[in-house]
């Protein structure tokens, strides 16, 4: 949905919707006929509310009686009073039985009746779900017309402001809030994946105590009594994930005031021990940065980096116009898309980076830096000298970004360098505040918690949305200490490793189910507005803290409003509605008032010896710290750089692999301080030698049906002393792991056998793609200036000649849809792919199917490594159906299941497809995806709610592919038709385009010469992939232009100029 259109929608429904949402979400769905019937409400409300326990017990019975159909409508799912009323009204006699305490007699009668009904149902062909039509339709609901609500995804490193699409009160797609100044409509893979997390069928559904079902009220009462009994909160401990909500912080402060001895520990495995654990305080602004230096900072490829959305946008803005190119240097350990996109990349081992940063600080003139002595190679010295020179030349117009998974000294040094260069206040903004309202030293916190546990001081441990049994540092032996707490309660979305052994388990509400607030990277407070009643009656940390306060029943909604009262200016009710409508509270952004003049406090650690094997720990690029292990979209998503799916692996360089006598996919045993874990090994081009990267988040035992058992648990070898890199050892053990890599791996095809094309140390794929095939075309800035038309010259790089055809050309008179992808902007972050999953109901196929190449993503990011594989450059190319005007697939389909629309879309008619797969064979881009087996889940009830109703769910034996989001095109055309006008430029936004933080994807009408996409397509840098096949693709790529430093031009990559 475009900005314009959203605005209209919001104008008409916005204020009412915001107010309506409040009511609808809090009180259940006020649209059921029973709810609007005063008689039934009046008659039944007392029965329902006076004996909640009985009702709950009967609900349990009801569940047992109904068998596998767990619930049938949202009302029933929510188990609202209105629903009960509806049921009772329909079966008045049975209803009396239900609200009475269950008697044996009544139970037998009910059982008998349901058996009889089951028998009857067996004789008919009617669907077994009752259909409740809207007798009185809700005022703001137009069936088939989605509504949009502003909310936010509260994430550890800063909230992501969102605009969620709701179809019949079910959130079905979430995207960035286009009006929010921070992310401006973009999102990221994690945020996109949280939608599936909401509908995860493995979420926990009941409050339990030692495995038995209980009620929230019982838990609340016990906690409250315990705290009251202790008077000052002694023995009451809370272990929470990082608190980002101002309301939660306020509630905690109130708890602390009431119970001063109660203890709160925050622990998030991905940030504990980093410079971030106290929250983000430095913001970077890349708009004016001519030179960007990343010190092991992967700010271009994942929401794990604070400010990802803004940083990518600002970086990419400068990449789109060759006149404004910035220059990116990357000094990094684990290869990331940031490093591989950089003009100049220096691969260093993680422990060398602090020392290098210190050298850099010295070189640019930071006073008082002591750099550890280290034998830098000539190449590294040259890089340092050139970098320092370039930085000095761009003082005030450069920025140094420190990595978060580095020694805290790197962050300090980076700030010092920024200060020395005069960047502070220009490209690096330091604030006095942080995104975290209750900053804490997380590692120290969990250490002291374990000490207290072992000392027997802990009576009550309440764990809030954390999974320490799985993710606590291995040396703390958390699970053993856990046993010593008298009572442990676990609030979590799943019965995970911690939930399994905790005494109490309380289902936690998803952020789309509950009220909260959170601060984004820029400091703006966003309101987390729910779009649906909790599916399984989940609770939040707000509810837990509120239990201990004066008004224990006060809802999170009231609490959030209470907090907002201090920040919303003017009339509160009006302001509140505006805030709900917009999604954030104006005037809450950080002011860049902080001082950069901090003394360098930490000592810069010396690098580990060169022959020591270093093991680097990183949160996983797709499932983060393991919290999204059960999200199939993110599990199957090929990880940036490695294209690994469904697993983590020990990532090593080719040289290290050879040195250790290993082959890819071998199983190795990694040892750190006597702790061992088995892992598969794969090669990553550009990885530093003598170094291994492992990603955290895998090896979950109790993640759910998707995530349990995938990968290995790297937390087992990660200690509190060295949370981000440690010295260890590696040993080959027997067997192969069986990793699933979604592209053919360059390792298989390297070597210098007879007839081998290309040199042995290059990637054959990239040699092919970049040279003769012309799939990747780019030039350096100098080359571009000399020859702006470089992308379309030479015998293998023709542009389409429309006269070469057997069939007459079709005239596109109205719309001619086309796409343009900017190769210079795309950072390979994968947000587009997950967005496509959600928009187009794409199936998840599982690891074994991915292994044999049957992954279903309609959009993939092709990665080509260029040059020496020890120091490569990579090219990321989003590849989806090109919607060829002269489509080879259409010609060969025997049943006409893939045809061309009059607007130039290559359409796929699923109903007509018999599945010969000829189209796929004949597709030069291999972008068609085939349902080799029944991949779509037609059974799981919760997943049915998530589906986009505008896109069919494909069954077995059917070919599918990117449709340019034809459902969105149709929606826009219908709107335009109603207003008797052509579709405006920017009105159709594809799902991938919407999610892209780099705005690398443009879409629109090519016939409209003023449209953004038409202008981009007519740019001389635009080229068509495989144009020599005369397929006439509608998607064009804008060739990249790089801006290398002439002093470093021959390192690390020698650029072979485009052949012509």
């Amino acid at each position: 949905m475009s900005g314009q259109k959203m605005k209209e929608n919001k104008n008409t429904t916005g204020a009412e919707a915001a107010a309506g949402a409040e009511a609808a979400v809090l009180k259940g769905h006020d649209f059921s006929r029973a709810a609007n019937d005063p008689k039934s409400m009046g008659a039944l409300a007392p029965a329902g509310s006076s004996s909640p326990m009985t009702l709950a017990a009967v609900r349990e019975e009801l569940k047992a009686v109904k068998g596998k159909k767990y619930w049938r409508s949202i009302d029933e799912l929510a188990n609202t009073e209105e629903f009960q009323a509806a049921v009772e009204k329909e079966f008045p006699s049975a209803a009396q039985e239900w609200v009475d305490p269950v008697t044996r007699r009544g139970f037998m009668k009910l059982m008998g009746a349901s058996m009889a009904l089951a028998g009857l149902a067996g004789c008919t062909k009617q669907p077994d779900e009752p259909i409740y039509p809207y007798v009185k339709a809700p005022e703001d609901l137009i069936l088939g017309k989605p509504m949009y609500f502003a909310t936010a995804h509260p994430f550890t490193t800063g909230a992501v402001p969102l605009l969620a699409k709701s179809d019949q009160f079910r959130p079905i797609k979430i995207d960035g809030n286009p009006e929010h100044p921070y992310n401006q409509g973009s999102s990221d893979p994690f945020t996109q994946g949280t939608l599936l997390d909401l509908y995860d069928p493995d979420r926990s559904k009941h409050v339990t105590f030692r495995g038995e079902d209980r009620e929230w009220a019982e838990f609340a009462q016990e906690l409250r009594l315990k705290a009251a009994a202790s008077k000052d909160g002694t023995g009451t401990y809370f272990l929470s994930s990082t608190i980002t909500s101002p309301t939660l912080a306020r509630q905690w402060k109130a708890v602390q005031a009431a119970y001063p001895k109660a203890t709160l520990v925050q622990y998030d495995p991905a940030v504990a021990g980093t410079a971030l654990e106290g929250g983000v305080s430095t913001q970077y602004s890349l708009a004016d940065a001519d030179v960007i230096v990343s010190l092991d900072a992967d700010f271009l490829s994942g929401a794990g980096f604070p400010g990802f959305h803004a940083l990518v946008r600002e970086y990419a803005d400068r990449r789109k116009n060759p006149e404004k190119l910035n220059r990116l240097y990357s000094i990094e350990s684990t290869p990331t898309t940031t490093g591989l996109k950089a003009e100049h990349r220096l691969g260093l081992r993680a422990s060398e980076i602090p020392a290098f940063a210190a050298e850099l600080a010295k070189a640019v003139g930071v006073a008082g830096v002591v750099a550890p002595a280290y034998a830098w190679t000539d190449e590294q010295k040259k890089f340092l000298a050139a970098l320092a020179k370039d930085l000095k030349a761009h003082a005030g117009k450069s920025v140094i970004i420190p990595g978060i998974y580095q020694d805290p000294s790197v962050a300090e040094l980076a700030l010092a360098i920024n200060a020395a260069l005069g960047n502070v206040g220009k490209t690096a903004l330091v604030s006095g505040e942080t995104t975290s309202p209750v900053p804490s030293d997380q590692l120290a916190g969990i250490k002291s918690l374990v000490a207290d546990l072992n000392a027997g001081k802990v009576d009550w441990l309440v764990i809030l949305n954390a999974n320490p049994t799985y993710s606590a540092p291995a040396d703390l032996e958390f699970a053993a200490a856990f046993e010593k707490a008298k009572t442990v309660a676990h609030l979590g979305s799943h019965v995970d490793e911690t939930g399994q052994i905790a005494h109490w388990h309380i289902p936690s509400a998803h952020f789309l189910e509950s009220w909260s607030d959170a601060r984004a990277y820029d400091g703006t407070v966003s309101i987390v507005q729910p779009l649906i009643d909790p599916l399984y009656g989940g609770k939040t940390a707000h509810d837990v803290f509120q239990t201990l306060l004066n008004e224990p029943g006060l809802s999170a909604y009231e609490a959030v409003r209470e907090t907002a009262k201090s920040t919303i200016k003017g009339d509160f009710e009006t302001g509140w509605r505006k805030v709900l409508h917009a999604g954030w509270i104006d005037g809450t952004a950080f002011a860049a008032t902080g001082s950069a003049a901090k003394a360098l406090s930490a000592k810069v650690p010396a690098p580990a010896p060169k022959d020591a094997l270093e093991i680097i720990f990183r949160p996983d690029p797709t499932i983060y710290d393991g919290r999204w292990a059960n999200v199939g979209w993110l599990q199957e998503l090929p990880k940036p750089v490695t294209n690994l799916s469904w697993d983590n692996a020990a990532l090593v360089s080719g040289a290290t692999l050879t040195k250790l006598g290993l082959e890819e996919d071998d199983i190795v045993e990694l040892t750190v301080q006597g702790r061992k874990v088995n892992a598969p090994v794969i090669v990553v081009p550009g990885h530093p030698d003598n170094s291994v990267t492992v990603h955290l988040g895998y090896g979950r035992e109790f993640a759910g049906r998707v995530g349990s058992g995938a990968g290995f648990n790297a937390f087992l070898i990660r200690t509190a002393a060295s949370p981000f890199y440690a010295t260890g050892s590696i040993k080959k053990i027997e067997g192969k792991w069986g990793v699933a890599v979604t592209k053919s791996h360059f390792q298989d095809h390297r070597g210098a056998r007879f007839g081998q094309q290309g040199t042995g140390n290059n990637s054959l794929e990239a040699d092919e793609a970049i040279n003769e095939r012309g799939i990747i075309r780019y030039a350096t800035l100098d080359e571009y200036k000399k020859n702006p038309g470089f992308a379309n010259e030479g015998e293998n790089h023709p542009s389409t000649d429309k006269s070469v055809t057997l069939f007459p050309n079709w005239e596109y008179n109205e719309n001619a849809w086309g796409m343009s992808i900017d190769m210079n902007s795309c950072t390979g972050c994968n947000a587009c792919i997950v967005s496509c999953y959600a928009e187009n109901n794409i199936a998840v196929v599982g690891k074994q199917q991915v292994r044999i190449g049957r992954n279903m993503q309609w959009l993939r990011i092709d990665t080509y490594f260029e040059g020496d594989l020890a120091a490569p450059r990579a090219h990321f190319q989003p590849m989806a159906c090109q919607h060829c005007e002269n489509a080879p697939c259409e010609q060969v389909c025997p049943v006409g299941a893939t045809v061309h629309t009059p607007e130039g879309l290559n359409a796929m008619i699923y109903n007509r497809c018999v599945g010969t797969r000829y189209c796929s064979n004949n597709c030069p881009y291999k972008v068609r995806r085939y349902n080799f087996l029944l991949y779509s889940d037609f059974e799981t009830e919760s997943l049915k709610l998530m589906r986009n109703p505008d896109v069919s769910v494909r069954s077995r034996g059917v070919m599918e592919k990117c449709s340019y989001c034809v459902q969105r095109i149709s929606a826009a055309k219908i709107d335009a038709d109603k207003e008797n006008r052509p579709v405006r430029d920017g009105e159709v936004v594809t799902a991938c385009q919407q999610a892209c933080p780099a705005s690398a994807i443009s879409f629109g009408n090519l016939n409209d010469k003023q449209s953004h996409v038409a202008k981009l397509q007519s740019d001389e840098r635009s080229y068509q992939v495989l144009a020599d096949q005369n397929t006439r693709p509608r998607t064009k790529y804008v060739a990249a232009v790089l801006n290398p430093n002439s002093e470093l031009q021959d390192t690390p990559v020698e650029h072979s100029p485009v052949k012509g």
Binding site: K743, Q757, R854, V914, F932, G957
Partner: protein, 478 residues
């Protein structure tokens, strides 16, 4: 060299032995056959109540393997084509390879029965019946694959131009559509031709049968054949007409099938040489299959007198000729890869030869070129029955690999290097493939048991007694 060492040229005596003194033509069947002996020999195989134990044993094996096909197909229909190894980018696999292989095998039967009939090659008579049977069973096996390889086999009939209320129509630009017509026409003509050819023999069987059931059934299928001149005249006319119809099919069916590949844009498929090279390959593999069947058959049923060394030798020659055309095709592919100066072609050829699946190319070269085309020149080897049996198996393997190479090695590394993949067949692939061989074997054994496998009427016509040369007729008239 001393003259005393000179010996009479063995070929001269050999030649003499091979000429039938009665007709002055090359002998087709062994000397000493009479009308009666031929009829006895062939009819007894069918009409005997004593089925050989070996038949049961082989039928048991064939039937068991065919049952495996049933299992594999049941599972296929339950789960979907994903049980096979096909994937992205290799979306066609064993099913299409087997389809093309079986269809190719069928071609020899049609060639023998139609083209050789038109060219008046008398030697075809001993082998044409079972070669035609082979064609039909091969088409049965082949015809199954296009149906089962589609993702939704219950909708495969959508490929037929049927007037539905749904008002949808096949897409006639697709070569798969052309396949439907080519293969269905081919199957129809082959069955009709085969049946018409058997009618005189059915008459003989009817007359010689002892059991009531056999008399009744053969009587029914013989369509009232009485052997009158009028019958013979019509029979000959029908045979000629059908031969005329079938002859273009020999060329067209595999040409159309080659279009499945040649029409595509894929390097390795997109080539104009495919039609002739596919047809030659089909005949090559077809004759190999006829040999594979004929050699054990003549041994088992003691038919050496009817299917003689001469037949084996002739088939060897046909294989040599078609094998050379196939070799030319391979050569041209390599030449064009270089001469076209197209990177796509050059890379495809390099990858086909030296890529990760390059071994399959060399298996093909050995089986189809290196081994047969160097040995088949020798008449001694061509008349060595054991050797010819071996070579027939090798060529069949080689031709299967040819299709494997075309289908798989073109697909697995095509345009975008990011999509390169691989292909590794699953047990279900092997089960379906082996299962069709079992089905073929079982069907063929049933044919051998219940139908005259050598056309008695046509063999009788070749006996010296049946020969009336115009000259002799003129002399008799004088």
């Amino acid at each position: 060299m001393p003259t005393s060492d000179l010996k009479p040229n063995p070929d001269e005596t050999e030649l003499a032995r091979r000429i039938d003194p009665a007709t002055g033509e090359f002998r087709v069947i062994a000397p000493g056959q009479t009308f009666r002996s031929v009829t006895e020999k062939i009819a007894r195989i069918v009409l005997t109540p004593e089925t050989p134990l070996g038949w049961f044993a082989l039928f048991g094996v064939g039937g068991a393997v065919a049952t495996m096909l049933l299992v594999a197909l049941t599972w296929l229909f339950l789960k979907g084509v994903g049980i096979w190894a096909i994937t992205q980018p290799v979306a066609w696999g064993f099913a299409i390879i087997n389809f093309v292989w079986w269809i190719g095998i069928g071609h020899a039967g049609t060639l023998i029965s139609a083209i050789l009939l038109l060219f008046k090659q008398g030697w075809r008579n001993s082998i044409n019946r079972f070669a035609e049977a082979m064609t039909i069973f091969a088409v049965v096996c082949a015809g199954m694959f296009p149906l089962i390889h589609v993702g939704r086999p219950w909708l495969a009939y959508w490929m037929l131009p049927l007037p539905f209320t749904m008002n949808v129509w096949p897409q006639f630009r697709s070569p798969l559509m052309w396949d439907v017509f080519a293969v269905s026409t081919y199957a129809t003509i082959s069955v009709v031709f085969w049946y018409i050819g058997m009618v005189p023999d059915f008459g003989t069987m009817r007359d010689r049968a002892h059991s009531k059931a056999a008399q009744y059934i053969y009587g029914l299928v013989s369509l009232g054949w009485r052997g009158s001149v009028r019958h013979w005249m019509r029979y000959e006319t029908a045979s000629l007409l059908l031969a005329g119809l079938a002859t273009p099919l020999v060329l067209s069916v595999h040409t159309v099938i080659s279009f499945d590949f040649a029409v595509a844009v894929l390097p390795g498929w997109h080539t104009t040489i495919f039609p002739p090279y596919f047809v030659a390959g089909a005949i090559y593999s077809g004759f190999a299959m006829v040999l594979t069947l004929a050699i054990p058959l003549r041994k088992f049923y003691h038919l050496e007198g009817l299917v003689t060394e001469r037949h084996i030798d002739n088939m060897g020659k046909v294989m040599l000729a078609t094998g050379l055309i196939v070799a030319y095709g391979y050569g041209m592919e390599v030449f064009m890869a270089w001469y076209s100066a197209s990177h796509w072609e050059a890379f495809m050829m390099w990858n086909r030869m030296f890529g990760p699946m390059g071994w399959s190319y060399w298996v093909l070269i050995f089986c189809n070129i290196a081994f047969p085309l160097t040995t088949l020149w020798s008449r001694r080897l061509r008349t060595n029955i054991a050797f010819m049996f071996l070579i027939s198996l090798i060529v069949n393997t080689g031709m299967w690999f040819e299709r494997f190479v075309i289908v798989v090695t073109s697909l697995y590394r095509d345009f975008l290097p990011s999509s390169w993949g691989t292909y590794r067949a699953t047990k279900w692939d092997y089960m379906v493939y082996a299962g069709t061989i079992g089905l073929f074997t079982a069907l063929f054994l049933l044919f051998v048991r219940f139908l005259p496998m050598i056309p008695m009427s046509e063999i009788r016509m070749m006996l010296p007694g049946a020969k009336i040369t115009p000259k002799k007729a003129a002399e008799a008239a004088d």
